[in-house]
């Protein structure tokens, strides 16, 4: 391994601009003549829009335009779409209700935009917005997913009777029922997987500009996938043809899924820019983010796990109601189905699994993929059941897991996934060792002496990343292929630009992708630039989410590098006057095998462009190759996380006191970055388990709508983490990469809740396990210790 090659903890190339304040996020960009847009949003969860009076607002100082949902509708643009079709059990397609970028006729959640004001300054736009009179007729609202499909619930969309989007299922119901019936023991749990607000620190933003001369639109957008944004806005909304629409995703301050989706605001900015003939900029205020960024999770689940007399799992039955909010967001349908039920086998051999998912509309913010997307929910179901099962059976939870681990690969689960490689024993064993599992009893006694309760919890999780084989996802209803593209552009002086359709918003691709290329071509990473995030620069791409950039994006780069090397060898053969088959490329040097004749990388690169020494009738000048890579399977990162908590029974406060993570991500390009991804994922998972509480009141008002009420982990809520890895290479891609971006968020909620329920001695507590919630459990169970 070179100091900057694959496996080296290279410091990030992108950091200089971020630590000096010279990065460029969307809101940092300004265009001449730019105006500000302000969205007028429904304060009602469900209301008819009877009339909107904009006359006074239009005459306010600085106002360039005031537009309503009716006016948007008159322009006959298309709706926002959910791009993944899911079929119900009876074969009927999901009920995708129309989702206009500006609501007309009816508002369906608090925050649904009904009109916009465009003015010279944001303050003027807000001043004018206060003069817009919207006459609402409030309607009854439904918020609780468990009640949405019930008789008499308010109907949100005419096209979706009973507010039901689909009733989907996977697996063998009869066999699973039989397994439950014949089981020696059945563990049953009910959970709420709590709704989360993503809260990337950079609020979403969009800046749209119309160039009348060329008839082209440009959109600067805080997005994780500019090409998909362009595709949807062009092909489905019909804003402009793709060749007249450029989407630029500059530096993006975190996404965690929430910036994958195509949102109303970017569509409206483009529309408004053309209407007023000026660039139009929108940057969300945090209070706006809370009621417009797609939320995550929000499942209500009942699940049963069957065990035989030996402690082997014989079946798993799951019923989940998934709340998708007021509209179907871009990938929402896939999250509680294909990204969820297919992972319900966990790391275990479970012969029979049956999962039913009912997806419903409610008068809440749309729900879509959030870090882990379906897999944290699946892991929570499986890992909570295994842990509770171990307790009920009186078996050490580590031992029960070992007994049920998948041991032989490839392994075909009973829920469609084909696990390609892994060693679950290895990660568990290493985690037990690092964590000093044996010392837990002693630590627990020590805590008890201090009046504290101590608990330990595991999550031996699996996830599916590297989304995804195009043909497979096509069969499952996806509207797009999920390959990735790359282009390797060698300059005459030998430096390289790599163009990728992935987008980085914290993952460090500018460094890891450069490491890959530098390693392969024998260059320093400074000679490699990674370009991404601009549809005019990069040919095509599917963006970054689902831990796909390493497994899919880098594989595309490898493919392009193969082509570059092949062509460079041809050119080197001419330069060195040798047969192409005798050319060996190693450490940045082309050598004629068995001789000391060689040409440096730079000579060949230059040779490719001056084109003096090879027949251009046979070999085209230049050295630039592109590739599309389509994965052959998902990748299956897995690992073991162990969480230890201490609870103050007097206040109910739970503190995470230690954390061990041993993950198998396959090949690791940059361990420093991989560890950072684990840290961040665990923090978000701990946040879900202990702090993050999205609360709607029964009228559909989001009452945890700011940082005053929505708690996210801060530095003093978390410990330092012990992070390590084991490695089994992924056999389905050239680098053996599995992906690491979501693992922490997938493993952590189950690990925390297993630790908390271990400490409390009851399974009956939901996330987030806040201090008052834990206190209430202790108090009800009369387990309060006497005051000290």
């Amino acid at each position: 391994m070179s100091v900057t090659g694959i496996g080296a903890a290279v410091r990030r190339k992108e950091d200089r601009r971020f630590i000096t304040g010279t990065g460029h996020y969307t809101d940092d960009i300004n265009r001449p003549g730019q105006a500000s847009i302000y969205f007028i949003r429904s304060p009602h969860a469900h209301a008819k829009i009877k009339k909107i009076d904009t006359h006074e607002a239009a005459r306010m100082p600085g106002v360039a335009g005031v537009f309503t949902g009716e006016q948007f509708a008159q322009d006959k643009l298309g709706n926002l779409i959910c791009g993944w079709t899911v079929l119900s059990k009876d074969g009927s397609p999901m009920k995708m209700a129309p989702h206009a970028a500006l609501a007309a006729g009816k508002a369906n959640h608090v925050g649904d935009a009904v009109a916009v004001v465009i003015a010279d300054t944001l303050a003027q736009a807000k001043d004018a917005a206060e003069k817009v009179v919207v006459d609402y007729e409030p309607l009854p609202a439904v918020v609780d997913p468990a009640k949405a499909a019930a008789k008499g619930a308010p109907l949100i969309h005419e096209s979706a009777p009973n507010n039901t989007i689909y009733n989907w299922h996977l697996g063998d119901a009869d066999a699973t029922n039989a397994a439950l019936k014949n089981a020696k023991h059945v563990t049953t749990l009910e959970f709420i997987n709590n709704r989360l607000v993503p809260n990337a620190m950079e609020p979403r933003a969009a800046l749209a500009e119309y160039d009348a001369a060329s008839g082209s639109l440009t959109l600067w957008n805080a997005t994780q996938n500019p090409h998909v944004a362009r595709l949807v806005i062009a092909a489905f909304v019909g804003m402009a043809p793709e060749n007249k629409l450029r989407v630029i995703a500059p530096d993006v301050g975190g996404g965690f899924g929430s910036k994958i989706f195509i949102y109303p605001e970017e569509v409206v900015c483009l529309w408004a820019a053309r209407k007023v003939g000026r660039p139009v900029k929108w940057t969300a205020e945090r209070s706006e983010s809370f009621i417009t960024d797609a939320h995550g999770r929000d499942h209500v689940t009942k699940a049963q796990m069957a065990f035989d007399g030996e402690g082997k799992i014989t079946g798993l039955k799951v019923h989940t109601t998934a709340n998708l909010g007021a509209y179907m967001s871009t990938f929402s349908s896939a999250v509680p189905t294909f990204l969820y039920a297919t992972l319900l086998s966990g790391q275990y051999e479970i012969p029979h699994i049956y999962c039913e998912v009912d997806a419903v509309y409610t008068n809440t913010v749309p729900v879509d993929a959030y870090r882990g997307a379906g897999r944290p929910e699946a892991t929570f179901v499986v890992e909570r059941l295994v842990e509770a099962g171990a307790r009920e059976l009186g078996v050490d939870p580590a031992v029960l897991r070992q007994k049920n681990f998948v041991k032989k690969f490839p392994y075909q689960t009973s829920v469609a996934s084909l696990y390609d490689a892994g060693d679950y024993h290895a990660s568990l064993a290493k985690a037990l060792e690092i964590h000093d599992y044996k010392g837990f009893a002693k630590r627990k006694r020590e805590s008890e002496r201090n009046g504290k309760l101590r608990g330990i919890g595991f999550a031996t999780y699996i996830e599916a990343c590297g989304v995804a084989p195009s043909a497979l996802v096509g069969q499952l209803g996806a509207g797009v292929g999920l390959w990735e593209s790359a282009e390797v552009r060698v300059n005459p002086t030998g430096s390289v630009e790599v163009l990728t359709g992935c987008h980085q918003h914290g993952q460090g691709h500018e460094t890891t992708f450069a490491q890959l290329v530098a390693d392969r071509l024998g260059l320093s990473i400074d000679q490699v630039n990674v370009l991404h995030g601009d549809t005019d620069t990069v040919q095509f791409g599917m963006g970054t989410y689902g831990s796909r950039s390493g497994a899919v994006g880098m594989s595309a780069i490898v493919k392009a590098l193969d082509k570059v090397e092949a062509k460079a060898k041809k050119i080197a053969a001419h330069l060195l006057e040798a047969a192409e088959g005798d050319i060996v490329f190693k450490d940045g040097k082309f050598t004629v095998a068995g001789t000391d004749k060689s040409a440096a990388w730079g000579e060949v690169a230059l040779g490719a462009y001056v084109a003096h020494k090879f027949p251009t009738s046979e070999i085209e000048p230049g050295l630039k190759e592109g590739a599309f890579y389509d994965p052959t399977n998902f990748t299956f990162p897995a690992g073991c996380h162990i969480c230890e908590v201490e609870i103050d029974p007097e206040t109910g406060e739970a503190t995470v006191v230690s954390w061990t993570a041993v993950d198998d991500f396959g090949t690791v390009i940059n361990p420093m970055i991989v560890e950072g991804q684990v840290h961040g994922g665990v923090a978000q998972g701990v946040g879900q388990a202990l702090l993050e509480h999205t609360v709607y009141d029964d009228k559909g008002q989001l009452v945890s709508g700011s940082y005053m009420d929505y708690a996210m982990p801060r530095a003093d809520n978390l410990p330092s983490f012990h992070v390590d890895t084991t490695v089994t290479k992924c056999p389905s891609n050239p680098l053996g990469i599995k992906g690491c971006g979501e693992a922490g968020a997938i493993a952590a909620p189950a690990a925390v809740m297993n630790a908390i329920t271990n400490a409390l001695g009851t399974e009956l507590i939901d996330m987030p396990a806040t201090a008052p919630a834990i206190w209430a459990v202790l108090h009800k169970a009369n387990k309060m210790p006497r005051a000290a």
Binding site: D15, N199, M201
Partner: protein
């Protein structure tokens, strides 16, 4: 409109502003110093932290007009544009104390302020408590805590403190 004169990153600045202009707007919109970010509207996330007269301050919760005669230091002024990085900036890079980079300027400005108040030898507990007003959604703080401890040590005797404090 009202005039305000202050020093930003060592340079005198005079601006004519609407009284409702916040310091962060003065920096970002008038002076085009966009390293200072806005991440919330309730003064909690800390992405907007700058130094005012040497002290960490949330620039989203101060009016520009309150700063007549004040000395403001932003992330752009922490190190000279053509000079070496400030030891705290260097420590954030060296310890991978950032991912998306959005909270980073506020984190670094807060970190330098912690060193000013708490010295160069900072234990993890102190750092974590002192970061109460800065939210990072990417890193889980592990590496930020490491970076601040290392940056604090590196600042010892380097002469690098908050320039605005001079």
């Amino acid at each position: 409109m009202a005039a305000v004169s202050l020093t930003v990153n060592g340079k005198p600045v005079t601006a004519d502003v609407d009284p409702r202009t916040l310091l962060v707007q003065l920096l970002r919109e008038h002076l085009r110093l966009t390293g200072t970010h806005v991440g919330c509207d309730t003064s909690q996330c800390g992405a907007c932290v700058v130094h005012v007269n040497g002290k960490a301050t949330k620039s989203c919760t101060v009016l520009a007009l309150q700063l007549e005669g004040a000395n403001v230091l932003t992330i752009e002024g922490l190190a000279a544009a053509d000079g070496p990085l400030h030891p705290m900036q260097e420590a954030f890079r060296e310890n991978h104390g950032l991912q998306c980079g959005y909270c980073t300027p506020g984190m670094i400005m807060t970190a330098v302020d912690i060193v000013r108040r708490k010295g160069n030898d900072l234990d993890d507990h102190t750092i974590r408590e002192e970061l109460e007003g800065n939210i990072c959604r990417c890193t889980g703080y592990h590496n930020i805590v490491k970076a601040i401890a290392a940056g604090a040590r590196a600042m010892r005797g380097s002469g690098a403190t908050s320039r605005a404090a001079e």
